[in-house]
């Protein structure tokens, strides 16, 4: 799977997105992330692992606790987004350029 595909699938799951959204408010331990979500703590840990593998989330130990936070240096999401953005834009550009070229050709004929 490419990085972009991994990122997209990482955020495609609604629960995982909710987990990620929680972290936008600031660094949190698993317990805090899980409270209020309709899933078990091990399930949240599993989601965090996937987000971590995708480069969206990082963790650090504080005492005996593990704190999760959005990885600000990962930039993976931004890059993947731009990759998609340019892919879609260039496709649209190709269509526009070819439509214009066809029109010009017709006028010349």
């Amino acid at each position: 799977m490419t990085n972009a595909a991994r990122l997209i699938s990482a955020l495609a799951d609604p629960t995982r997105r909710a987990v990620f959204e929680r972290l936008k408010e600031g660094p949190r331990p698993v317990g805090e992330i899980a409270s209020g979500l309709p899933v078990t703590r091990p399930a949240v840990s599993q989601h965090l692992k996937i987000l971590k593998d995708a480069g969206l989330v990082a963790d650090r130990s504080v005492g005996t606790r593990r704190i999760y936070y959005i990885d600000p240096k990962g930039l993976g999401a931004m890059r993947a987004w731009l990759d998609q953005f340019w892919e879609a834009s260039l496709d649209a550009f190709k269509l526009a350029a070819e439509a214009e070229a066809k029109k010009t050709k017709k006028e010349e004929e």
């Binding site: 990122l7 997209i8 699938s9 955020l11 495609a12 997105r17 990620f20 959204e21 936008k24 408010e25 600031g26 959005i70 600000p72 240096k73 990962g74 930039l75 993976g76 999401a77 931004m78 890059r79 993947a80 987004w81 731009l82 990759d83 998609q84 953005f85 340019w86 892919e87 879609a88 834009s89 260039l90 496709d91 649209a92 550009f93 190709k94 269509l95 526009a96 350029a97 070819e98 214009e100 070229a101 010009t104």
Partner: protein, 156 residues
């Protein structure tokens, strides 16, 4: 000590069934005909983006209400083969004069058409900004916009 992660540049290529000069023309002065309308910055509804055809020219978005929002500027203007733009939008989709990421577009004749190569680089500079933003307590998450677009894209 922290390790700076350098994201790879975004590389995209496309073959256009049109002559080189025409491809350059549509990419620049015709940008309004292909730029996705959904990617508007600022509050006004997007009319079209504009690239001023010269080095130092502005690259901005024109709203239907006549308002202008900067996207970046022209760093190199070499028709019909090369264009270098500065993309100065931060991860929160706001113009930042101090942030310069480069978008280089080259147009090479290939058969009867043109091969267009696009490279969006220096993305790690966005990282510096993103990090600053996230460190600012109370700043709305710089990732909100990205996340929003992500969920839309992934639901398609």
């Amino acid at each position: 000590m922290s390790t700076q992660i350098r994201p790879a540049p975004v590389l995209r290529s496309i073959f256009v069934n049109a002559p080189q000069a025409h491809a350059f023309e549509v990419f620049t002065s015709g940008i309004g005909s292909w730029w996705p309308k959904t990617h508007a910055i600022g509050d006004a509804e997007l009319d079209k983006p504009v690239i001023e055809p010269r080095v130092g020219g502005r690259w901005y978005q024109l709203g239907i209400d006549g308002s202008e929002c900067d996207i970046g500027k022209v760093l190199a203007w070499e028709p019909p083969s090369r264009l270098l733009l500065a993309w100065q939008l931060d991860p929160d989709w706001k113009f930042d004069a101090n942030l310069v990421t480069e978008v280089e577009v080259t147009f090479m004749p290939e058969g009867e058409g043109t091969r267009v190569d696009l490279e969006h680089r220096n993305l790690e500079r966005m990282g510096d900004r993103a990090e600053e933003m996230i460190e600012k307590v109370g700043s709305p998450g710089g990732w909100t916009a990205v996340l929003q677009l992500y969920s839309e894209a992934s639901e398609k």
